[in-house]
C-alpha cells in the first residue's frame, strides 16, 4: 500500500449515528434492499479523471493539489504510482468498480503506437490489480478531446486525419476495456460540436459522427466485447455547442444512424442541469426511449453555468433519480460512477475520501428511500389511477390504426364529450415523496 492516504483504515459502515467522518452512515455494501445488495444495486465506480488527474488548476488559477504522480519526469513510473494509489483508494472505499480514459492512466507518447504501448503497460498492471482486489472495470474510454489535435473535434474534425487518429485511439481503448472485462465502453463528445456555426458544416460532421459510432459498434461485435456502448450527453463546454446535447438529442441521432438498439446513454446529473433538465427527467426519458445505460452522479452547483462536477449531497434529489432508475429495472451493465471533482481548495488527500464517502452515503440513503417508495407503492398507484381511463376499449381504439380524426370527431359530437379537469395533485405527490426521505 502506498503512503498517499497515510494511516487511514478501510472505510466501514458504522450506521446513521456515527460521527466518524471516515465511516459510512448509510452505505452498507451487503445490506439487502429489494432483493439485491446495496453493492449490486448501486455498482459504484471511482473515476481516474477527476480523482487522480485533476490537480486543482482552473481557468484563473494554477494547480493547488500536490499529487506525487503529477509533474514527474519518469512518466511511466508516475503512472504506476498513480495506479497503486488508485487501487489503494478503491480498497479503502470498498467500491466494486473503477473507470478511466486512456490518457488518464498512461502518458501520451511521441506516436500513437507509443501511447498505445503505454496504455497497455498500465493495463497489465490493472489486470493484476483486478485479480488481487476483485475491483472491476465499469467502463473505459478514450480521451479524444484534450490534445490539441482534437481542438476542432475528433470524429467531427474537418481534417480526416483526425478522424483516423481518433478511430485508431478508440480501437486501442476499446481493446483495453475488453481485455479488462469492462462492463461498458463510453464515448463523450467533448469536442464534437462547434465553437461557431460560421465555420462548420453540421451535415458532414453529423454524418461522420454517425459513421464513427457505427465503426465502434461494428468493432465491438468483431472482437466479441459484450459490454454496452454508452454516449454521455452534454450540451456544451468545452465547445459552445455539443452534438450530444441531451438524452432526446442522442436518441434522434441514434435513430438517424440506425443505432438505437446498440447504444445507450451515460447520464450525468450536472450535464442534465446544464441542458435545462432535471436529472430525473433525463433518466426517465432514457427509460422511455429504451436507452438508459449508466449514470455519473456528479451534480452541478445550481448557480454556476459551467460543469462543476460536485459530489452529490442532496438526498431528496438523488432519491427521485434512483426511484426512476429502479422503476426502469435498475442497472444492468451500467452503474453509478463519480467522476467528481473536489473543490479546488480541497487539497488534502483525505478530501478525496470525504468527497466519495459523502457521495456514496447520499446515494445509499437515497436508495433506501427510493426502495421504500417502490415497496409501499402509493406513488405508482396514483400514476396508474390517473391514466386508468386509457384502459378502456374506446380509449385504446383511438390509438389503433383504424381510428381517424373524423371518426373521433363524430364520436365527440355524438357522445357530447366534454371532459372536466381533475386535480393533478402535485403538492400531494411531493408530500408523499417526502414521507420516504
Amino acid at each position: 500500500m502506498s503512503d498517499f492516504f497515510g494511516n487511514i483504515e478501510p472505510i466501514k459502515f458504522e450506521g446513521p449515528d456515527s460521527t466518524n467522518p471516515l465511516a459510512y452512515r448509510y452505505y452498507d455494501a451487503n445490506r439487502v434492499v429489494m432483493g439485491k445488495t446495496m453493492q449490486e444495486h448501486l455498482r459504484f465506480a471511482v473515476c481516474y479523471w477527476h480523482t487522480f488527474c485533476w490537480d486543482g488548476a482552473d481557468p484563473f488559477g494554477q494547480s493547488t493539489m500536490v499529487r506525487p504522480w503529477i509533474g514527474q519526469s519518469d512518466e511511466m513510473a508516475a503512472a504506476r504510482l498513480k495506479a497503486e494509489v488508485a487501487f489503494d483508494m478503491f480498497s479503502l472505499l470498498g467500491v466494486p468498480y473503477f473507470a478511466f480514459h486512456d490518457r488518464d492512466i498512461a502518458p501520451e507518447g511521441a506516436t500513437l503506437a507509443e501511447s498505445n504501448r503505454n496504455v497497455q503497460a498500465i493495463v497489465d498492471v490493472f489486470e493484476q490489480k483486478i485479480e488481487e482486489t476483485g475491483v472491476g472495470l465499469l467502463w473505459g474510454t478514450a480521451n479524444i478531446f484534450t490534445n490539441k489535435r482534437f481542438m476542432a473535434g475528433a470524429s467531427t474534425n474537418p481534417d480526416p486525419d483526425v478522424f483516423a487518429y481518433s478511430a485508431a485511439q478508440v480501437k486501442n481503448a476499446l481493446d483495453a476495456t475488453h481485455r479488462l472485462n469492462g462492463q461498458n465502453y463510453v464515448l463523450w463528445g467533448g469536442r464534437e460540436g462547434y465553437e461557431t456555426l460560421l465555420n462548420t458544416d453540421t451535415k458532414r460532421e453529423l454524418d461522420h459522427m454517425g459513421r464513427f459510432l457505427n465503426l465502434v459498434v461494428e468493432y465491438k461485435h468483431k472482437i466479441g466485447f459484450d459490454g454496452t456502448i454508452l454516449i454521455e450527453p452534454k450540451p456544451q463546454e468545452p465547445t459552445k455547442h455539443q452534438y450530444d446535447f441531451d438524452v432526446a438529442t442522442v436518441y434522434g441521432f441514434l435513430k438517424k444512424y440506425g443505432l438505437e438498439n446498440e447504444v445507450k446513454v451515460n447520464i450525468e446529473v450536472g450535464h442534465a442541469v446544464l441542458a435545462g433538465h432535471s436529472f430525473e427527467h433525463e433518466i426517465e426519458m432514457a427509460n422511455t426511449l429504451g436507452i438508459f445505460g449508466s449514470i455519473d452522479a456528479n451534480r452541478n452547483d445550481y448557480q454556476s453555468g459551467w460543469d462543476t462536477d460536485q459530489f452529490p449531497n442532496n438526498v431528496p434529489e438523488m432519491t427521485l433519480a434512483l426511484y426512476y432508475i429502479l422503476q426502469g429495472g435498475g442497472f444492468t451493465t451500467g452503474g453509478l460512477n463519480f467522476d467528481s471533482k473536489l473543490r479546488r481548495q480541497s487539497i488534502d488527500p483525505a478530501d478525496l475520501l470525504y468527497g466519495h464517502i459523502g457521495g456514496m452515503d447520499t446515494c445509499a440513503k437515497a436508495l433506501l428511500c427510493a426502495a421504500n417508495m417502490i415497496e409501499e407503492g402509493s406513488l405508482k398507484s396514483l400514476v396508474e389511477d390517473r391514466y386508468a381511463g386509457w384502459n378502456t376499449e374506446a380509449a385504446q381504439a383511438m390509438l389503433s390504426k383504424e381510428s381517424s380524426l373524423d371518426k373521433i370527431a363524430e364520436r365527440v359530437e355524438r357522445e357530447g364529450i366534454n371532459p372536466q379537469p381533475k386535480s393533478g395533485r402535485q403538492e400531494y405527490c411531493e408530500n408523499l415523496v417526502n414521507r420516504f426521505i
Copy 2:
C-alpha cells in the same frame, strides 16, 4: 375600413433615409434579391394570437390595451370586427399572409359543435376577405392549451376524452385551414409535457402524442390538404417541461413515430434561446435533419427567462438566421411570421404598426445582408476549404461500409498519421460577416 387605426395610410417603402416612423426603410416588397422578390423570400405573416387577442394582461397585471373587440357581450359581432381590423392591418402593412388559432378568430361555444360553427362563420368572412385582398393564410392551428380542459395536456392528457376532444378540434381547424388554402398547419404542444414527473407516465404520453400526430397526417392526406404539417418546438412554459423541447428532440420524436418525412418544424427565435440554443443553430439543425419548415421571428429578451415574444430588432442576428435559411434553399410552404407581443405598455393602436414595421424592416435588411454574403461567397468557400480534406478517396473510404476501426488503426500506424491543428479563424469569420451588415 374600420376606424381602429385612425387615418393611417398604407405603409410604404421610403428608403433608408426616411424618418417617417410609419414607413419601411428596407422592406420593398417587389425588390428582387437573388432572383426573387423580397415578398417571395420573406413570406411575412401577421398572427392573430398576440396581435389581436392579447390585451396586455400579465401574471401580475390586468389588461392595459383597449381593443373594441375584447370583452363585448355579442362575441360573434366582436369576432367580425376583429376580422375587419385584422384585414385592415394586413392591408396597411402590405403583408402577403396571416395566421391564426381557431379560438383567436371566434368565441368558444357551449359545445364543440357550437365552437366549430363559430369558427366556420369567421372562415366564411375570411374567404371573402382573402378574395378581396389577396392576403393568404400561412398557417392555421387549434388552440388546445387555453381552456382548462387541456390543463394536463391535449393529446397527452391522462383523460382519453381530452385526446378525443383535441382530435375533434384539430380536425375542424385543419378543415378550416384547408378551406382557406393554408400553406401549412401548425401544432404547438404548450400543454404537452408535464408539471411534475411524479404524476406522469411519459411513455404513455409520448405514444399518445405520436399516434395523435399520425392521425393528423393521415387526415391531411385523406382530405387532400397539401400544406405542410409543422411542429413548433418549445422547451417549457407554460408547462415545466414540454415534449417538443427543441429541433433535435422533435426530430427524434418524428423518427420514433415514423413521421420524419411528413412533418417539419416551425422555429421561433425565443424558443430557441429558451432551449439553450442560438436561433441559427435551430435553423441549421433543421436543415441538416431535413425538417426545416417555417419560422416565428419573435425574439426573447436575453435577460428574461420566460417567453417575451418581442419583435426582432437586431439585424446582425437576423442576418445569420436568413443566411442559413437561404443556404438551405429558402422557404417553400413556410414563411416568416410575427407572433410577437407588444410590450404591455405599448397600448396605442399605432404601436401595433411600429412593432410590425420594425420587425419587417429588420428582416428585410437582414435579407439584403444575407443575400450579399451568399452572392459574394467567401464564407461558404472558407467552410468548403476547411473540409476539403474529406474529398479525397482515402477519407471517403473511412466512411464506407468496408472500413473498420482496426483497418483505420493500421493505416494510422503505417502512415504515421499525426494531424496538426489548423486555425478555426472564428474572429476572421465574424469580421467577414460584419462586412455584409
Copy 3:
C-alpha cells in the same frame, strides 16, 4: 365555518410515521427547540395573494380553480366570504399569522376613496376575526402593480400623478396594517424598474423611489407604527429589470437614501434563485449587512426561468436557510410566510391544504435539523478555526487606521511572509451538514 373545505378537521401533529396526508409529521407548534416553541421560531403566515386570489390562469391558459368568491357580482359579499374561508383555513392549519395586499382582500372601487372604504370594511371583519381566533397579521402591503395605472411603475412612474396615487394608496394600506397590529409592512416593487432602458430616466426614477420610501418611513413614525418596513427584492418579472434586484442592491439603495437603519428585507427563495443566488446567500448577506427581516419560503423550480412560487419541499435546502436565520438571531418582527401558488392543475380545495402542510412540515423538519447543527456546534467551530489567525494582534493591526500598504509590504519582506494554502474542506462540511438532516 364556511363549507369550502368540507368536513376537514384541524390539522394535527401526528409524528413522522403518520401516513395521514392531512396531518403534520414534523410541525408540532408547541415543541420547544433551542428555548422557543416551533411556533415562535417559525412564525408561519398564510398569504391571501396566491392562496385566495389566484384562480389558476397563466399566460397561456384560463382559470382552472373554482373559488366561490371569484367572479361574483356582489364583490363585497364575495370579499366577506373570502375572509371567512381564509380564517377557516388559518384555523385548520393552526398558523399564527396571515398577510395580505389591500386589493387581495377587497374590491377596487370607482375611486381611491371607495377602494379605501372597501379595504376598511374588510379590516373591520379582520379585527373581529383576529380577536376571535388569535391569528395575527404578519404584514400588510399595497398592490401598486396590478392596475394598469401602475404599468410604468408606482413611485417610479413617469407620471407624477401615479406617484401621488401610490402614496395615497400606501398610506391607507399602512393605516390598515397599523390598525391590525401588523408586525411588518412590506413593499414589493413589481413595476419599479423598466421594460426598456430606452424610454427610462433611471436617475429620476431611483430618486423618486428613494423619496417615496422615506415618505413611508416618516409616516410610519408619525402614526406610531412600530412594525418593520420591509422591501422584497426581486430581479425581474413582471418588468424586465426591477430596481430591488437582490439583497445587496437593496442595501446600496437604502444607504444612498439614508434608510439602512429603517428598512429591512423580506427574502423569497425563488427571487434569490432568479437573481443568481442561493437562498442562504441572500439570508446571510442580509445578516451581514444588518437588514435581515423576514422570508417568503416560496421556492422556484430550478428549470423554470420565471417565478414559480412553489411550496418548499427540500429539507436540506431549507435547513441551510434556517441555520443562517438562527445564527443571525432568528426572526424578530419577521416570520416565514408562504405566498405560494398551487400548481395550476391542483384545483381541489384540499390541494391548498396539502401545499401548506407540506411546506410547513419541510420547514419544521429543517428547523429541527438546523437547531441540531447549532447545538452540536461543529460547523461553527470549523469556521471560527478557519479564521483564527485573524485574532492575533498583528492581523488586527492591518485592519486599523494606522496600517498602510507600505508598512504591510515592509513587514511581508522583513518576515518573509509566504502563506501556504490550507484545505477549505468543502466536502467535509457538506457531509457534516448531512449528518443533521
Copy 4:
C-alpha cells in the same frame, strides 16, 4: 520589430468598402466625432492577460497556441520578448493604450521581493517603449488570484498572511502603474467570494475587503497617484460567488466602507450578462450612481454560462453601450479595453490581429451610430417628454422634505387624481435606434 507577426504592415483605415481583413473599415483614429477624435473617445487598450498570456488551454484541453515566450526556461528573456511583441502589436494596431497584471509581464520569483524585481525590470522596458511609441498605460493591476496562495481569497482570505501578501503585491503593482503614468488602477476580486458559505464568515471577509480597499486608496493619495481606482464587478467564476457581483452591489459596498467618491467601476460586457443584466444596464446604473469608470468590451456568448471573453461583434448592442457612455459624459481616465480571448482554435498570430481589428471596428461603427443618435436628439427628447410632468411645482413638492403620505393622500382625494396610462412606445424607440445603425 520581432518577427512574431511576420510581414504585416500597420493596420490602416480603408473605409467601409475595404475587403482587406487587415484594415479598419470604421476605426479612423483622427476622425472627429462630436468634437473629439475617435481615438480620444474610445481610448482603446490592448491587454496583456488574454492577448499575450493565454495559450489556448481550457479545462478540458491543453495549450493550442504556439507563443515563443511561453514555456521558456529563461523566463526574464521570455518576458522581454513578450514585451517586444506586445509593443509591436500596439503599433500595428495603432492603439493608444495597453493594460496588464503584474504577473502577466514578468515571472513570479521565489520570493515576493524577487517577483517585484522582475516586474520592475519589465517596467523599465515599458518606460522606454512608452517613450518610443507614445502608447500609454490605461491601467495596471495585480494578479492576486492565480497563485495557489490566493485560492481562498486575497484580501478576504481566512489567513491574514495572505491579506498581508496581497497588500504588498498591490503596493508594488500600484507603484509600477504610477511610475508608468497609468490612467487607472484596477482591482478584480476573482477569488474574493466563496466556494461554499458553509466554511465562510462573510462579515469578516467583507470588512477585510473594505479595509483593504481603503488601504489602496490611502496609498494612492500618499504617493500622489492621480489615476482612478477601479473595481471590476463579476458575479462568479472562478469562485461560486464573488462579492463584487455587479455595479449595484459594488456601489453598496463602496457606501458601506465610505469609498463611493474614491472608487469607480470597470464594467465588462460578459460580466454584466453573467450577472443577469444587459451591458447598457450596468453602464447606466454606474452613471446613475456616479461610479462609471471604464469598460472591458469582452462580450459573452449568450448560450454559454461561463466567461467567454469574446471580442465584440454586434454593432447594435455596442451602440447602446456607447450611447449611454456618451450620455454620461464619455470616458475621463477610463477607456475601452479588450481583455478578449481568441477562441481556442484561433491559433495563428494573425488571429490576434483579426480579433482586435473586428472588435475595434465594431466599437468605432457603434460610436458613429451613438453620436448620430445623440446629435439628432429624438430619443433623448422622447425620454424628457415622458417625464415632463415632474417639472411642475406640484410634482416637485412631493419630493420635498415638507411632503408627507397623508398630505399627498389628501390631495389625491381632493383633486380626484385618477392617472391614465400612456404608451411606453418601446417598439417605436427600438425602431428609432435602428435608424442610426
